[in-house]
Structure formats: C-alpha cells, structure tokens
Amino acid sequence: MSTAIEQAQELFSDEVVTKANSRDIQLPYGAGTAILITLDNGHDHNKPNTFGPGGLLSLDAAIEAAKARTDISAVAITGKPFIFAVGADLTGVPRIETHEQAMAIGKLGHDVFRKLGELDVPTFALVNGAAMGGGLEVALHCTYRTVSSGVPAVSLPEAFLGLVPGWGGTYLLPNLIGAEKALKLIIENPLAQNKVIKGPKVHELGIADEIFEPADFVEESLRWAAKVVQGRITVERPEVDKGEAWDNAVNMARFSVEGKLHGAAPAPARAVELVAEAKNRSRDEGFAAEDQALADLIMSEELKAGLYAFDLVQKRAKRPAGAPDKSLARKITKVGVVGAGLMAGQLALLFARRLDVPVVLNDLDQESLDKGVSYVHGEVDKLLGKGRINQDKANHLKALVTGSLSKDAFADADFVIEAVFEKMEIKQKVFSEVEAVVSSDAILATNTSSLSVTEMASKLKHPERVVGFHFFNPVAVLPLLEIVRGEKTDDTALATAFTAAKKLKKTAVLCKDAPAFVVNRLLTLFMGEVLGAVSEGTEPEVADRAVAPLGLPMSPLMLLQLVGPAVALHVSETLNAAFPERFAVSPELDKIVEAGKNEIFASDLSIDPEVKELLSGGDKPSEEKEILDRALRAMAREIRIMLDEGVVAEAADIDLCLIAGAGWPFHTGGITPYLDKVGVSEAVNGEPFHQGAPQAL
C-alpha cells in the first residue's frame, strides 16, 4: 500500500496540497472538547481545495490524531472561506499508467474518508462553501452534515468528466437520501451541462441535516452539533425506500443515460449500476465496487478526453491562442447593430447586458426596427419576470437599447456589428454606409457565418478596422465566438474584439479568414457525409442514427432543423465554391429549401413525410457503420487541412470550437482525441493529432 501511495505522490508531484488543520475547540453548552478540522490549501477561494495524495494523507493524519484521543466528544470538518472542497485533484490523472496505480488512488480516498464514518465519536461536516465530487463525499462520510444557505455550488460532476463519484458517493448518497434524489446529483445534473445545486437544495434533498445562514454558519453549526452530542437534538431522517422506488429510479436513469449517450461514454452507465447495487451491498462491498469502477474509468480514453475538454473550457478558453495584448484594445462606449432581426436583437441584448453601454439597432424600415427593439425589451421583461434582474435594471437595459432608421445614430459608436442578410454586396454596402458616419478608428465587426471578412473590408477606407465576430445561435446558450482576422485586420481591432468577447463572457477562438471558419465548416462537412449517404440511397433514419455512437447532443438532421435548411444550404454553397472537391451541395437539401420546408421532423419526432419524400432516391444504401466511418474520415482529413492552412493555432482550438459552438461532448474531447482513439487520424493522415495524452495548453 505504501508504495502505491508513494507512486501516486510522484504522479501528483505538483499537487497544491490541501492541508487538514486540526484545532481543539470547546463546544458550547459544556458539550466538551471537539476537534475542528479546516481544509485549507493556503490559497484564496480562486484556487479551491482539492484532494491529491498529499491532501488525503494530511486528512488521514488529522483523523488518526482524532482517533487516538479519548477526551473529545466530536470531530467537525469545514473548509476555508467560501470553499469546502471541490473534489479530487485531477492534474496527475493523465499521468497514471497502470490499473494498479489507478486502483491505489481510489482506494486511498476510501481508506481515508471512511474513517470519518467509523470513529467512536460523531463527526460533523460543516459545508460552508462549494462542495463538489470528493468534497461532497467527505461530508457524506460524516455522521452529520450542516450546510450554509449561502453555498453556491454542490455537485457530483464525476459523470460529466468521465468518472463516477467513487470515494463513497455512489454508495453513501443513495443510502442516505434514496436512489431517485441521489441519481439527480450523480447522473441527471452532470449530464445537464454539469448543473449544480445551492445550499437550500442540499438541505431540502436531505443531504444536510440542518441549514444555517452564512454570516455565522460555523458557530451556529457547532451550537447545533453540541446539542446533538448532548442528545438534546435527535436527527431524524426519512427512511430510504429500497423497494420499487429504488429500482424505478435506477431504470429511469438507465433509460436517460442510454438516450443521451447511446453507449458513447462508459462513466454515467457505470455510476447508475453502482447506485443500482448500493442498496444490497455492505459498506465494504460498495466501496470495493467503487474502487474497481474508478480504476477502470481512470484508465479510459473517455476520461482523458474529458479532462482535456475540461481544461479546454476552463483554461484554454480563458487565454485565447493568438490574441494580441489587451492593452491595445479600444474602449467601447457605444455599440451599433446593423439589422434588427432575431440575431441582431440577441446581440443587442447581450451587448447591453454585458457591456452596459447604449446599443442602437438600425434597419431600413420602421416596422422591422420596432420589432427588433420590442424583441429586446420583451427579453428584458422575461429576465425581470424570472427575477434575474430587478425593475431598475430592467428600466436601465430598455433605455440602453434603441432603434434608428438612420446610421447617423452610429456617429459616436466605437463598435458597430452587422447582422444583415448573408450576401457579400449587401454587407459591403452596409459597411460603407457605416464608415461614412463613424469616426476613423471605430471597429466594424461582422457576424457573418461564412463570408470572407477580407473581401467584406476590401471596399473600405480603413479595412484594418474590420474583424469577424461570429456568434452561435442561440447566443445566450452557446458560448463560442469565432473571432476572425481578415488580411488587413490590425491588432487594435483584434484586441478590441477579444476584450469585448471576454466582457460578453464568450469563449473566443481566433480564426483565419477561411470559408465558414471552424464550426460551420466542420458541421457542414459532417452533415454533408450523412446527407451524401441519403443521396446514395440510405434511409434518412438510418443515416441520421449512424453517428449516434459519438453521443452528440443532437442528431445531424435535428441539427439541420435547428440551424434551418436555408442557412445550412447557404453555408454549404459557400464551402462548395471554395472547396468543390470536398464539399458537395446536397441536391436533397436544395429541394427541401425550394419546397420551403423549415421542419425536418414532425411533432412526433418522426421525419416529416414530405421531407422524407424529398430525401428519397439513390440505389446504393450504406450500413450505419460505413456512414460513421466516412463521416469521421472526412472530419480527420478536413481538420488536418485546416491545421495546415492555419485556420486555428492548434487542434485544441478545433476541439474547443466544437465543444463551445456546437455542444460536442466532453467524452470525445471535442473530436480530435476521439479520432485518435478510433485510429481514424492515423489511417487518414498517417499520424494522430496528439502525441500521447491530448494537451489543452
């Protein structure tokens, strides 16, 4: 065992150790001496407490010291300000090479944490701040728990990353609050964009026995603990239903996991099975099963991809590759939006909310303009209705967003973005009109999804001020922003765009001015392969199902419906014009657009009969596997070409774009780790995209 720990410590040599500091305290009401353990890594809340081998050993020493005492009446454990603990330190996980090492990590966590539930005195977890993964599991091992009503985030994110809550979570939580509620934390929330719950919910679910306000949370928790120690308070918990309710909850979870992932990621299914068995297992059996699951999953490619993806969105997204020094950025004091359609309205709302500056919408006729402005005002009212903003803020936001038929209203704007019809001549004309009124150094941004930024700027006096600023629909949901550098775009325009992106809370990726940039190019290609198979005679349902093993958030045809057949057709035409040998224009798509069909699916989610009719034809149907293979090969080839063309700096940026702009999953790491894993990269390009484990930075 000791050698396993030593090995683990070597793998985590750069661990920021969360120390478990013990102090004797006198419990109120004469309830005796307690040991109060504080988890603290010595940094502020921006670097939360985590558990690596060093942290586990520190906690072990603290618990062992408590165990040796005969003069104490309780042990309490809490975190540093605002943070309880946010789980395992995952930095060393990609360095784990053997199943034995992986097993040792899992077992070490159990061996330490379980002692909190096996001392002679009661143990109390005082959950004062964020508690995730192993942090929440520490609390679960304690005899009792209190939670602060101010805790912003409690979760078991393991399944989201590619693990299971395997330091006791899958065993203890369902046995504490029942399988249904436990699966909400273990499965449902992680698979819903890694949702977290707040302090009051932790109490409501029965995870915490008592809740106190944050101002003197630990003091009041200790008063409560003292009364529990003295027997003046008896903690009563509802009995857990281990009958049908348990099995039903498990079956529901199984169904939901399969529906979402189609077997693409092993971790969530594994977690469900651990919960399924938890009702019949002893502690030892439950923990041993968790050890085994952890070890298997730690060695999985999906986890490596998941950790890579996590680093992409947590780290790479914060330091966009190729962004110029932010000191070059120009201050934005007023924004102009050309257009008043749906996209323009979404942009106006976002700019007003995040930049807190006046935003003027501009359109050709009063009716469209009024519609655009009233859309924004309506969205503001929705925010007000949901309690996200108060009346004053709503008044302020509405006052910020106005409309003008004349571009003269842009005269003092420093940032003007166009969101007009995707036609080069129109966009060029719009920019010329804008340039005529704005100052010589105002930035002009285009939300084009596929047109050339360079060409769009070419007719201007100051083409250096033009930058691509491509959002993804729905703007409020998808975080990606492709920032496009045209041939003449200068660093000031680019720096301003990146600084604005950050304030807009968007994930910015720098792209070269290449047709359709990154996401639309790859999605169009991917969908093109599926449509190609249909064109050749494959049943559309079969073709649509073929890529399910990737576990994408939606099927290709569903995506087509969301994007809109007309937009998709337009992008594919652009790409076909640029790269005719690789991008075809689907005649079936053309027909759908011509027929004016916006919906691919009927309300019962079957393919609309009329659309299906348009999609029929061809006499060379393919097998699902063949379609998946051709789609993946096309992706691998295209990504290689894009990297060679310098569309983005690295493969990591491609993956970040797919995750942030198309919602592609963590377990595929975007796509390049997956392409490497299944051997397609090597087969198509002669080499994988990543040498060894993929690196986000």
Binding site: N21, R23, I25, Q26, K80, A215, D216, E219, L222
Partner: protein, 399 residues
C-alpha cells in the same frame, strides 16, 4: 408641540471574547465579522424584538479604516442580515465610542425619534493600531494647543502620576493585581460568560478555532511579577504593561429601547438610563476626564457619590482609576468599584469597552436588588471623560 421625554432602558448586551492584538485570537479575523456576530447574537437572544423594529444601528470604532470603515454601523447591519430598512451609522469618541453610541441612541429614544436601537463598538487594534492614518494638524503644536504627550496615551498616564504624586507605582500595581484576581473570580463564578458569544477565528496555518473566553487575563499575577516590568513611556516611570490595559481586539453591542416599547415586546429593561455627561480636560492628562464628567452629572442630578452603589470604571490605566477614586474619597479596594475586575485584566478594545462596562453593571444589578444607582465611566483620548448614570430596574429598596 409639547414633548415628553421617554424612559430609556438597556435591554441586553453581548460581546465577543476579547483578544490580544498582534498574534492573538483574532489575528486573522476581520473587525466587521466580530461586530456582525455580536449583532446577530443580540437579535437571537431577544426574539421578541422584530428585526424591522430596530430603528438605528450605532456602531463605534476609533480607527474607521478598512474593515472598520465603510460606515460600520450600516455595513454591519447589512452583513448581520437586518432588513435593508434598518439604518446605521459610525460613531467615534475614541475609547468612549460604544458609550457614546449608547448615550446618543438613548437620547434619540428619549426624544422619541427611535423606539429601539442597537449600540455598540468594535476595535481590532491588531488590524488597526491606535493612530493609524492620523494626520494631526500642525497647529496643535505650533500654537501649543496640546502638549505633544497628548497623543501618546501612556504618556498621559505618566503625567497623571505627576499630578497625583500620592498615586505611586505600588498602588497602581496593587490595583492591577486586584483587577486580575477579580476577573479570575468572576470567571470562576460564571459572572462574565453569559454575555460572551463564541466567535469563529481564522488561521490559515492552524485552521479555524473558536474563541470562547477572553484571552488577555493573566490569572496569578502578583506584585512581584509586576514589579520587574518595563516602563515603556518613561525611564524609571510608573506605567507598565501590567498596570495598564493592553492592546486588544473585540466587539460589543447592546439593545437600547424605550421602556414602554420594551415592555410591549416582552423585553426586560435591565437598567434605566438616568443621565449622562461628557467633559473635557487637558489632553495631556486625559485620564482624569471621568472626574469632571461625573461631577457635572452629579451637579445636574443633585446627587453625590454616596448615592451610587456600583461603579464600572474603565481601566485604561490603574493610575487613572485611582485618580478618580482619590477625588471622590473612595478606597482603592472599595467593593463598589469594578467588582468583577476591569480592562487591565480583560482588555480594552478601545471603542468597544463602554458597552462592556454596561453589560457587567446590568448583571451586577440583577444580583444586587439593594442597589439603586450605578455608574459607568471612562476616560477618553484627546482629554475627555464620559459618565452614564443608570438605575437598577430590579431595585427593591424602595418597596
């Protein structure tokens, strides 16, 4: 419009355990967190008081910088979770800050402008040493408005020994030893603990702890142990760390209310505010301040020291207490004076001390229904004294 003054009562007091500044209990704990804990505990102990009925939160701090700045009364009210409708303000009369918070809010209650107020003080002398950020006007010295000693409290205490040559270092030390003994006994008798609220204390290195008792007392202090201490303010002087209060951190708070309102809420007024008085003296002998302040009050009320059964006098320095006692002809060890000891043992977190005197007087009143009147009095930097006269609501002598 004719106006009738209302009777004002001290309902309840709570304080944090006092800590030693520097490396003591609260070295890594914020000052505002201390006063917030006090306010929350006051509200918790008096559930009859609806939070929205608090009309004012008057919190004193001498050094109103950083976590003691930002209009501490208002910010503490918000941090304590009182309704937004409850206002608050910061107050400063150096050591008599909390005492002034009580008299000012008490006067407002009597006037009819408030029904209920929270009055208190906080001083974290570790985070905010006395004199932090001060910028005395050069005219003080150029025009000899004050003696240079006036700004160094220890020097004013040495000056007091000069003015009262009969008060020797031995008398001061003997007084200090008794203060320590009385505090030790009061702790043993459980007299001080009821007003304390335990406080979570932060230490990055050691982890959180829980402050449950005062840190400054040194039980077992003897004349011998005091004899050898240095006299930092004057070579071969009289004032030592042993016969003066230390540098301390702590917070106190009290609920003040109109007597009829308190009754309506089911709150017991533990003592009644009779009168208060402040007076100025030469800043270089600020310790003598309680004498004219008390005389002024006695003259107005037509009473004398003989009418007062209990005296809680702040012990910034033993010499300053002895100067007061000598003036009024009271023995150094008179049982009426600081029966449970004082600041020399318990500590003196400047602006918070006034309310500590009051909460102790209120508890003593409960034990002493034979006593009708008690005083709380203290000397104040820049040459002042402040005295508050209280009437025991438990007084039975008249029946």
């Amino acid at each position: 419009m004719p106006r009738t003054a209302r009777d004002v009562v001290f309902v309840d007091g709570v304080r944090t355990p006092f800590g030693k500044s520097g490396k003591g209990l609260y070295a890594e704990t914020r000052a505002d967190d201390l006063i917030v804990r006090v306010i929350r505990e006051l509200m918790r102990r008096n559930p009859g008081l609806p939070p929205e009925r608090v009309d004012e939160v008057a919190i004193a701090a001498t050094t109103q910088i950083g976590d003691q700045g930002l209009t501490i009364g208002r910010s503490a009210a918000i941090l304590a979770g009182l309704p937004r409708s409850v206002p608050g303000y910061a107050i400063d009369r150096m050591c008599a800050g909390a005492l002034t918070a009580v008299t000012t809010s008490g006067a407002g209650i009597s006037f009819g402008a408030y029904d209920v107020a929270i009055a208190g003080g906080v001083e974290h002398m570790g985070r905010h040493p006395m004199g932090e950020g001060v910028d005395p006007n050069p005219r003080f010295l150029s025009e000899k408005l004050v003696d240079p000693d006036a700004l160094v409290m220890g020097n004013t205490a040495e000056n007091l020994h000069d003015r009262f040559p009969s008060i020797t270092k031995e008398r001061a030390d003997a007084y200090a030893v008794r203060s320590q003994e009385k505090v030790a006994k009061a702790y043993a008798d459980g007299n001080l603990q009821p007003d304390l609220v335990e406080v979570l204390v932060r230490s990055i290195e050691e982890g959180y702890g829980l402050a449950t008792e005062d840190e400054p007392p040194r039980p077992g202090t003897t004349m011998e142990s005091l004899a050898g201490l240095k006299t930092p303010f004057r070579s071969h002087g009289n004032v030592t760390p042993g016969n003066a209060a230390g540098l301390n951190d702590g917070a106190t708070g009290a609920i003040m209310a109109a007597e009829d309102v308190a009754e309506e809420m089911g709150l017991k007024g533990r003592m009644r505010l009779v009168d208060f008085s402040f007076a100025g003296v030469e800043p270089e002998v600020m310790g003598v301040g309680p004498v004219p302040a008390t005389e002024k009050l006695f003259a107005r009320q037509g009473i004398s020291i003989d009418d007062v059964g209990l005296i809680e006098i702040n012990e910034a320095f033993a010499v300053q207490v002895l100067a007061f006692l000598e003036h009024f002809g009271i023995a150094d060890d008179d049982a009426r004076v600081n029966p449970w000891g004082g600041a020399i043992a318990l500590g003196h977190p400047l602006a918070s001390s006034g309310v500590r005197l009051m909460m102790q007087l209120a508890r003593q009143f409960e034990q002493r229904p034979d006593v009708r009147y008690g005083l709380t009095t203290m000397c104040v930097g820049m040459g002042m004294g402040g005295t508050v006269l209280w009437e025991n609501t438990n007084y039975e002598g008249g029946k």
